[in-house]
Symmetry: C2
Subunit: 213 residues, 2 copies
DNA sequence: TGTACATCAGTGAACGCGCGTTCACTGATGTAC
DNA sequence: TGTACATCAGTGAACGCGCGTTCACTGATGTAC
C-alpha cells in the first residue's frame, strides 16, 4: 500500500469513527454529513468522496458490529440443545444487538431491506451468509435424524429467516415490546414451523425397541 | 355535513386524485407536493393542510387499491381447495397488485412497515385485518380436521404472514423475479410450514376403516 | 327573519434545512526518464 | 540519483432541489342574538 493510499484509508477511518460515534449519539436524522465531517476533522466534500451517501456511510458504520455479533453468535452456538434452542440463540443475539439502538438499526434496515442486492452489497452478503449458515445447520440436523429426509433445507432456511424477519419487524414496530417478548413470539412461530400444523401428508413413525449399534 | 365540510372533502378528493395519477405516472420521487397541488388546482399549502406529509398522501392514495384488492381476494377464495392453494390465492393476488407498480408499493411499504402502529394506522389496520382473516381461515380448517387441534391459529397466522412478507421482500429486492417465481418460492416455504420439517414430537395417526356418520 | 360577528378552508409567498453535486484549487505523493 | 511532470486525495465554497413550516391574508360559511 502506497503512502497515498495509506493516508486515504486513514481519512476513511477518521470519518467512519466520527460517524459511528455521532450516529450512536444523535441518530441518523440527528446529525448531518457536515457534522460528521467536522467531527472527523475533514471537509464535507471528503465524506461524500469516501462514502457516496449518508445511507452508505450508515451501512458501513454498522456493518462491523453486525459482523462481529454474527461471528460471535455462530461460535457460541450451544452444541447439545434442540434445533429450536439453537435457532433462538441466534435470533435473540441479533435482537439484543438491534435493541441497543433500535432507531439506528431500524433506519439501516429500512434503507436496505427493499433495495436490489447491488445497492447494498454488504448487508446482502450478511443476510445470505446467515441463511447459508441456517441451511447448513439444518442439513446437520437432517444427518442426525432430527429432520425428515425429503425436506429441502434451503427452502426451510429461507422460511426460518422469514419468521425471524417477521419478529424483527415486530420489534421495530412496537416500541413497548422487549427483546424477550419478541423472542417468545418468534419461538412460538418457529416451534410451530418445525412441527407443522396439518394432520395429513405426514409420515407415520414406527418407533422400534431395538438395541442401538 | 356542512357546506363548508363538503367543500373541504371535495378539495381533499381533488388532491387525492391528482396524487394517484401523478404517483402512478412518475413515482414517489418523480413528483413533488407542488406538482400535485398544481395538478389538483390548489395551493401547495393546502396539500399539507389535508395530508401532513408526502408519505401520508401516498399511503392514503394507495390504501383504496389495497382495500379493494383484499376484499376481492377474500371474496373469490376457492372453496374446494387445499389450505396451501387458498393461501397462495391470497398471496398471489397481493403480489400481482404490487407488481403493477413495484417502485411505488416498495416506497409505500418501506415507509410504513417499520413505523409504530400509530404512525400508519391504515396500513396497520389492513395488515391486522389480513392476519385476522388468515387466523379465521385456519380455525375453519381446524374444524374440518385438516389442522391439528393443539395448534394456536393466531401464532400460525402470524407465521404464515411472515413467510408472505419474506417473499414480498424478495419481490421488491430482485427486479428480475416475476410474480410467478416469487409465488413458487412462497408456496415451497408455506408447504413446508404446513407439513413441518422435524420427525419428532408429532402425533401418530391411526387411520381406521370405519363408516362415517 | 335579518344582522353582526366568529370561524375556518384555502391562498401565495417566503423561509430554513439537509441533501447531493459541482468546481477550481492546493499540495503531497508517485513515476518516467 | 535527481528532475520534471502526472496523478490524485482533499479542500472550501457555492449551487439547486424538495421538503415541511410559517404567516398574514381573503372570503365564504356558520352561528348567536
Amino acid at each position: 500500500m502506497n503512502r497515498r493510499e495509506a493516508s486515504k484509508q486513514e481519512t476513511r477511518q477518521l470519518i467512519l469513527r466520527a460517524a459511528r460515534r455521532l450516529f450512536a449519539q444523535k441518530g441518523l436524522e440527528g446529525c448531518t454529513i457536515r457534522d460528521i465531517a467536522r467531527r472527523a476533522g475533514v471537509s464535507p466534500a471528503s465524506v461524500v468522496v469516501h462514502f457516496k451517501s449518508k445511507t452508505a456511510l450508515l451501512e458501513e458504520a454498522l456493518k462491523l458490529d453486525i459482523d462481529q455479533a454474527m461471528t460471535k453468535l455462530m461460535a457460541s452456538l450451544p452444541g447439545d440443545s434442540t434445533i429450536l434452542e439453537r435457532l433462538m440463540h441466534l435470533a435473540k443475539g441479533f435482537f439484543r444487538l438491534y435493541d441497543q439502538n433500535r432507531d439506528l438499526y431500524r433506519a439501516l434496515i429500512r434503507q436496505t431491506i427493499f433495495e436490489p442486492d447491488r445497492a447494498t452489497p454488504d448487508l446482502s452478503r450478511q443476510s445470505e451468509q446467515y441463511i447459508q449458515f441456517l441451511s447448513i445447520l439444518l442439513a446437520e440436523e437432517k444427518v442426525r435424524g432430527n429432520i425428515r429426509a425429503e425436506v429441502n433445507t434451503e427452502v426451510a432456511a429461507g422460511a426460518i429467516f422469514s419468521l425471524y424477519l417477521g419478529a424483527l419487524i415486530m420489534l421495530f414496530r412496537k416500541p413497548e415490546m422487549t427483546v424477550e417478548m419478541v423472542a417468545a413470539a418468534l419461538a412460538a412461530m418457529t416451534d410451530s414451523y418445525l412441527k407443522g400444523i396439518t394432520k395429513v401428508g405426514r409420515l407415520v413413525l414406527h418407533p422400534k425397541k431395538r438395541g442401538g449399534p
